[in-house]
């Protein structure tokens, strides 16, 4: 069976648009394909696309870990940031 994760450069991340977790829509994280060599900015774009958000608005991305939350810098490659397969993320309107 084909599987995106078989490529060692590939991972799945699970972003949620923060706003819908705070209003009555209450939709949770969804699965999105990513690559370890993407920059933080490219990852943000992939998440904005997956959530079909208004591209004229500005967003930032935050990594959620059990013990901390980390703002994802746009220019760094996500492997260096330490993003892992299965990571939950939040998309936050600026």
């Amino acid at each position: 069976m084909p599987n995106y994760l078989k490529d060692s450069n590939h991972l799945l991340i699970w972003p949620v648009f923060k706003e819908v977790t705070e209003n009555d829509l209450f939709i949770c994280n969804i699965g999105v394909r990513a690559r370890y060599d993407m920059t933080g900015e490219e990852l943000l774009q992939a998440c904005v696309d997956a959530w079909q958000l208004d591209k004229d608005k500005k967003y930032r991305l935050r990594l959620i870990r059990p013990d901390q939350q980390v703002d994802i810098p746009p220019d760094t490659v996500i492997k260096e940031i330490g993003i892992r397969n299965g990571d939950p993320l939040e998309i936050i309107s600026c």
Binding site: N3, C28, I30, A50, W51, R84, P88
Partner: protein, 504 residues
């Protein structure tokens, strides 16, 4: 035989006197799991099967139950019963039941066989074998029911495939695979006590009452036939638990740990039942909130667990959370189902003014404030609330991570754990606790969302998934604009049932 035997002697002669201890093999090799869980048994042979039924009686009673069901079904079909229900959206709920509950029945039969094989106590063995056969009967009677429903209704024509592959069923699978991969005593506490004793009343009584209220006599017959075995199953759960607690004090902390885990596990698997009671029937005889109060809080927590105090057993760890959640449970779960209604084999539906009225009056503190705005979004556009992608699920119960914190209902209850250099998400403190007791176990889950997004069933999501699920996109989505609803209206019209008579 000269003298007639009494009931007890007769029962012994036909059941437990047939056992023997192995002489050729080491008992520990014949029953390799018996000491693995730390349970200590001193003299288990003094325990009696609570029901004391011999096989010939069992077969006779069960055969009568089956015949009765088929008689009702024949009459229901001959009398155009389907056309006469008050609102056929009810069947969308029965489909959800079909995919969530029937596979549980089938798995329960395997689990009972596993327990009977591995625990060499006559009383337990005979009761588990009876229940094993019961569960297979339930699975088959339900499948028969769906085969007949399928003549009139979408969504069940590839039933075996749908119930195996739809994400919704992984919730059931994870519960039973968890129990089947536990030791036999833990499995016994999981199924016989937590599942059967605590929760099956709330499954079959209110839902069968709802079926009667909407006029689905056919389902009433299924529910009653199944429920009629439950008193036996509940008796097994109770006597097994008492036996384990009384055989040795050192068993108590182990049992407490299992009750903490399996109470929450069973409670979560029953979440869909909350929606089946509160949402799908157009006429509701009882709400989840009231049913939970009666069957769980009053009967189990206030009644049974008070008796358990003498053994040193307290309420399950997250009992309080489930009590708080009763104000939210059905609404939160219906919201989850609506997020995914375009990919489910059962449809969601717009609520009518009478639905809003009932939900508001039954849930005055929560429905209007936290949930009605969500359901109203669908008034103009049936897919207004659809998730834009494949949702993440709880690593333990496998339900999408969309439960609100009952203390703060506008916030997610989602919990995060770190294990083996990965982040794991769970839906609630109850599931987080279970994960953290055995992270190596839950880290092995087959996560449908991950498989879907990885492209295992096609690149074009969600469209490519339908082939794998075994139904078409037209069989999903909104009920009141579906072809099923249109057909039902036509059917009623042909019978003249669309006429409305008012006045004296």
């Amino acid at each position: 035989m000269a003298a007639r035997m009494g009931l007890k002697q007769k029962y012994h002669a036909m059941t437990r006197d047939l056992m023997w201890d192995s002489q050729e093999f080491d008992m520990k090799r014949v029953y390799p799991l018996i000491e693995k869980e730390g349970i200590i048994l001193k003299d288990p042979s003094r325990w009696e099967d609570p029901f004391r039924m011999a096989y010939n009686q069992y077969v006779k009673v069960q055969a009568e139950k089956d015949l009765l069901y088929h008689a009702v079904r024949n009459a229901f079909e001959a009398n155009e019963g389907h056309a006469k229900v008050v609102d056929a959206r009810w069947y969308e709920g029965v489909k959800a039941f079909a995919i969530a509950v029937q596979p549980a029945e089938y798995q329960a039969h395997r689990l009972m066989a596993y327990i009977g094989r591995n625990i060499p106590i006559e009383a337990i063995r005979f009761a588990t074998i009876n229940q094993c056969l019961d569960e297979l009967r339930h699975a088959q009677i339900e499948i028969k029911h769906y085969a007949h429903m399928s003549k009139k209704i979408d969504g069940l024509h590839a039933y075996a495939q749908t119930n195996e592959n739809l994400w919704f069923n992984t919730v059931t699978k994870s519960f039973f695979e968890d129990a089947l991969s536990a030791g036999p005593f833990e499995a016994l506490v999981a199924i016989a006590f937590s599942f059967e004793y605590v929760f099956t009343n709330i499954l079959f009584l209110p839902f069968a009452t709802s079926a009667a209220a909407v006029g689905d006599d056919n389902f009433v017959a299924v529910g009653k036939s199944v429920q009629s075995d439950e008193s036996r199953h509940m008796a097994l759960g109770m006597s097994a638990l008492k036996m384990l607690l009384e055989e040795d004090d050192r068993n108590v902390p182990i049992i407490q740990r299992w009750l903490d885990k399996w109470y929450w596990r069973a409670y979560r698997i029953f979440s869909v039942v909350a929606t089946l009671i509160d949402y799908y029937p157009r006429i509701r005889p009882i709400s989840w909130k009231r049913a939970f109060k009666t069957y769980v809080e009053d009967q189990v927590f206030e009644g049974l667990f008070k008796d358990f105090r003498k053994y040193g057993i307290r309420l399950p760890l997250h009992a309080e959370d489930s009590i708080k959640e009763k104000e939210h449970y059905s609404h939160a779960v219906m919201r989850i189902l609506n997020h995914a209604k375009h990919v489910n084999a059962f449809r969601g539906f717009r609520l009518h003014p009478d639905d809003y009225e009932w939900l508001s009056s039954e849930y005055p503190d929560t429905f209007e404030r936290y949930y009605a705005p969500f359901f109203r979004r669908m008034d103009d556009h049936v897919l207004a609330v659809a998730t834009p992608g494949i949702p993440a699920i709880c690593t333990v119960c496998q339900i999408p991570l969309e439960f609100p914190d009952p203390d703060n209902p506008t916030r997610f209850w989602t919990q995060y754990s770190e294990y083996n250099n990965k982040t794991y998400m769970t839906c609630s403190p109850g599931c987080k606790h279970i994960f953290e007791q055995e992270p190596h176990k839950y880290a092995q889950i087959w996560w449908p969302a991950e498989a879907y997004v990885s492209g295992e069933f096609g690149e074009n999501l969600p469209d490519d998934l339908f082939k794998y699920f075994g139904f078409a996109p037209e069989e999903a989505n909104e009920y009141y604009s579906s072809r099923d609803y249109e057909r039902w209206l036509q059917y009623r019209k042909q019978l003249g049932l669309d006429q409305i008579f008012t006045g004296r």
